[in-house]
């Protein structure tokens, strides 16, 4: 049985290669040679195909073995009875896969969705091309542009200017883990047809003696039209928090490239584990809201506008599968984990920070007391 994992090694010196986002090429850690993704693809095409084939074959074999096990459960005459031994490795073990590192031969125990990782023993970047075979192959990838050092610097920048951040958080917390991950996303195309009715008013106020007379003109305002969308991203990994993946948007689709595993070495990658049908509602909701807002924004020149009827019809289009770059940084402070995500292309940083209660209430009192004094003096005048 062939290897299911591919190590991308330098064609010059066989040292591990990793994708360097800052130069957009694969770089040798040892001799510092650089190669384009296309060059490496060409070199490793045969190896990748073999790994993919081995992956598929193993899947079939695993299915057959499982079937056999079910049929022959219990001891046969003359054999040792190992039926009491559990086949269960614990909760979630059925979601694990075991690969062998092509460099050092160590066993890599990965989740079933893992598509790119690194060997914990020799540190070589490892890609599982089989995770992307056939229909599972992503259409696009956006390569990393932000490197690890930049991501760490961005986290420190993220702390700056946050008055409510506990001082000890900046001083005491340390980055526990930082990893660059290609996160699977579904990209939805489509069109929304909106027909919205508003009640709008314009009010004119004039003074008549000691009275303020208001004259309000009422209108029924109707807007109907279509809005086309392209590539609304929805993350397809159950492991990624949706709010983080939404908040690091937008990605610049100008950098979209046809998918190649050559962009993966040096990073982690998972294949999708949330299917299109389970993600589409999020894209639908965003498209509908945007279409409504586009109609609403065109109602101008009124002082009030209230929606009284809204019909939005979605015409769903093509869905593409893309791997988008994200840096995940986790820190720990006072027994709590804090997760931060950086858009690996644009550098946009998101993550929730702790709030110091002392600072919060101190600030509250610091504003309230002088403001009360000033207002009291004004009232007494």
């Amino acid at each position: 049985m062939g290897e299911k994992v591919t190590n991308y090694q330098c064609p010059n010196c066989t040292a591990p290669l990793h994708f360097d986002g800052t130069i957009g090429k694969l770089k040798c850690d040892f001799c510092e040679s650089t190669f384009t993704a296309e060059e490496i693809e060409a070199v490793y095409k045969a190896q990748e195909e073999a790994a993919e084939k081995a992956f598929v074959e193993e899947e079939w074999e695993a299915e057959e073995e499982e079937q056999e096990l079910k049929e022959n459960i219990g001891a046969e005459d003359g054999d040792w009875d190992d039926s009491s031994m559990t086949q269960d490795w614990g909760e979630g073990s059925e979601k694990l896969r075991v690969y062998n590192c092509p460099s050092c031969g160590a066993e890599l125990i990965c989740e079933e969705t893992t598509a790119a990782t690194s060997c914990p023993y020799c540190g070589n970047p490892s890609v599982v091309p089989g995770q992307f075979h056939g229909a599972l192959k992503p259409d696009y990838v956006i390569p990393f542009k932000v490197d690890k050092e930049q991501a760490v610097a961005m986290l420190k920048e993220h702390y700056k200017g946050k008055f409510l951040l506990p001082k000890s958080f900046t001083n005491e917390n340390h980055i526990q883990e930082i990893k660059g991950v290609y996160v699977p996303f579904w990209l939805f195309d489509g069109k929304a047809d909106a027909d919205v009715m508003f009640h709008a008013t314009r009010t004119f106020v004039r003074r008549q003696g000691d009275y303020e007379v208001s004259t309000t003109h009422h209108y029924n305002v109707r807007r109907a039209g279509t809005v086309a969308f392209e590539k609304i991203p929805v993350d397809a990994s159950s492991k990624m928090p949706d709010e983080y993946m939404d908040a690091i948007e937008p990605f610049d689709y100008g950098d979209l490239k046809e998918f190649s595993t050559a962009y993966l070495p040096g990073f982690f990658a998972d294949k999708y584990d949330v299917v299109v049908a389970d993600c589409s509602k999020r894209a639908d909701d965003r498209a509908a809201e945007t279409a409504y807002r586009a109609m609403e924004d065109s109602v101008k020149g009124y002082m009030t506008k209230i929606c009284i009827n809204k019909d939005i019809l979605l015409k769903r289009g093509e869905v593409k599968y893309a791997m988008l770059p994200v840096w995940l940084l986790s820190t720990r402070w006072k027994g709590q984990n804090f997760l931060f995500a950086v858009n690996g292309q644009t550098g946009k940083m998101v993550g929730d920070l702790p709030v110091s209660n002392g600072k919060f209430w101190g600030l509250f009192a610091g504003i309230t007391i002088p403001l009360t004094i000033v207002l009291s003096l004004l009232l007494m005048l």
Binding site: L164, D210, E212, S214, H217, Y219, T226, S376
Partner: protein
């Protein structure tokens, strides 16, 4: 009959021209005539007083007015709506003041108390700079307290008499150079005893006690908003609700853009320019109409 018509026309024109010519030639005569018109100070269209009461009040008001050169007027009507379309008793009092030509001198200084009996409304208005100086917001407050007690008990004569007497005292103090205001009557004034029971207005300690709770709530609300905005900035991971970033360029295509006028509505509200004397403050609040004063129920 036909021959008399030009003569009748001539007589009519002459009858209109002669008084104008006389007033134009003799300004004093015109002034006298105005004085004649202004000699009525008490208008009792609601039938509140006996003849004797009316005469006493009229005499008293005229005496005060002539002495101070500031008209002191009282008008009682059945329903102020008959005098003003503005919809409130204060405006009705202002309209009556102008309509009846009230006031003394170039600035037409005067004070008018109007009672409207149907809904028991009252309005007290002053006009002219001397009247504004004499009847401060605090002074007007003192007057209300004095006459409202009587009117509430249907003691019309006593109430109007209080009004005239208070007017006299306040005008006198103004003529002396120190109108009655929040600080009370001037030290050693013969009116000290009359107004010693209203010291609250200058008690700044109580004003502070009132002002701090009034200021605390909006200050705390504003502070909380600022703190919550800062707290919100600590959470940056949020679900996206729109997809504007992914709208295909110029793809927003409207097929209907329709704005149809349906109807018009009107509303109006009173501009709150007169709010009575401020605790701890003095002076007179004059509205854009040139009047100061206030209204209410008795």
């Amino acid at each position: 009959m036909k021959n008399y018509k030009p003569i009748l026309m001539l007589l009519l024109i002459l009858s209109l021209m002669i008084p104008s010519a006389v007033f134009a030639a003799c300004p004093e005569a015109a002034t006298d005539s105005t004085m004649e018109e202004q000699e009525i100070y008490i208008y009792d269209q609601a039938g509140l007083f006996t003849n004797e009461q009316y005469m006493k009040l009229q005499e008293q008001a005229m005496s005060v007015s002539n002495y101070s050169q500031c008209g002191v007027y009282f008008v009682a009507v059945n329903d102020y709506w008959e005098y003003s379309l503005a919809g409130d008793v204060l405006t009705a009092a202002e309209d009556i003041y102008h309509e009846y030509g009230f006031g003394y001198g170039e600035e037409r200084d005067g004070i008018l108390l109007l009672l409207s009996m149907v809904d028991r409304d009252y309005a007290l208005v002053t006009y002219g700079s001397f009247a504004h100086a004499a009847f401060t917001d605090y002074g007007q407050e003192v007057m209300y307290n004095n006459f409202l007690d009587d009117f509430s008990d249907n003691h019309w004569y006593g109430g109007v008499l209080d009004y005239i007497m208070d007017s006299e005292r306040m005008l006198d103090m103004a003529l002396e150079g120190t109108p009655l205001d929040v600080q009370g009557p001037p030290e050693g004034s013969i009116y000290e005893d009359y107004y010693e029971s209203y010291p609250d207005y200058e008690d700044s300690g109580e004003s502070l006690v009132m002002a701090v709770p009034m200021a605390l709530l909006p200050a705390a609300a504003l502070s909380l908003v600022i703190c919550l905005v800062l707290k919100r900035q600590m959470k940056t991971a949020r679900i996206q609700t729109n997809a504007f970033e992914y709208v295909v360029g110029n793809s927003v295509d409207f097929r209907v853009k329709q704005d149809i006028f349906t109807h018009v509505t009107h509303s109006r509200r009173k501009i709150n320019t007169s709010s009575g004397p401020k605790p701890g403050g003095g002076g007179t609040t004059v509205r854009s109409s040139g009047f100061s004063g206030r209204s209410g129920k008795f």
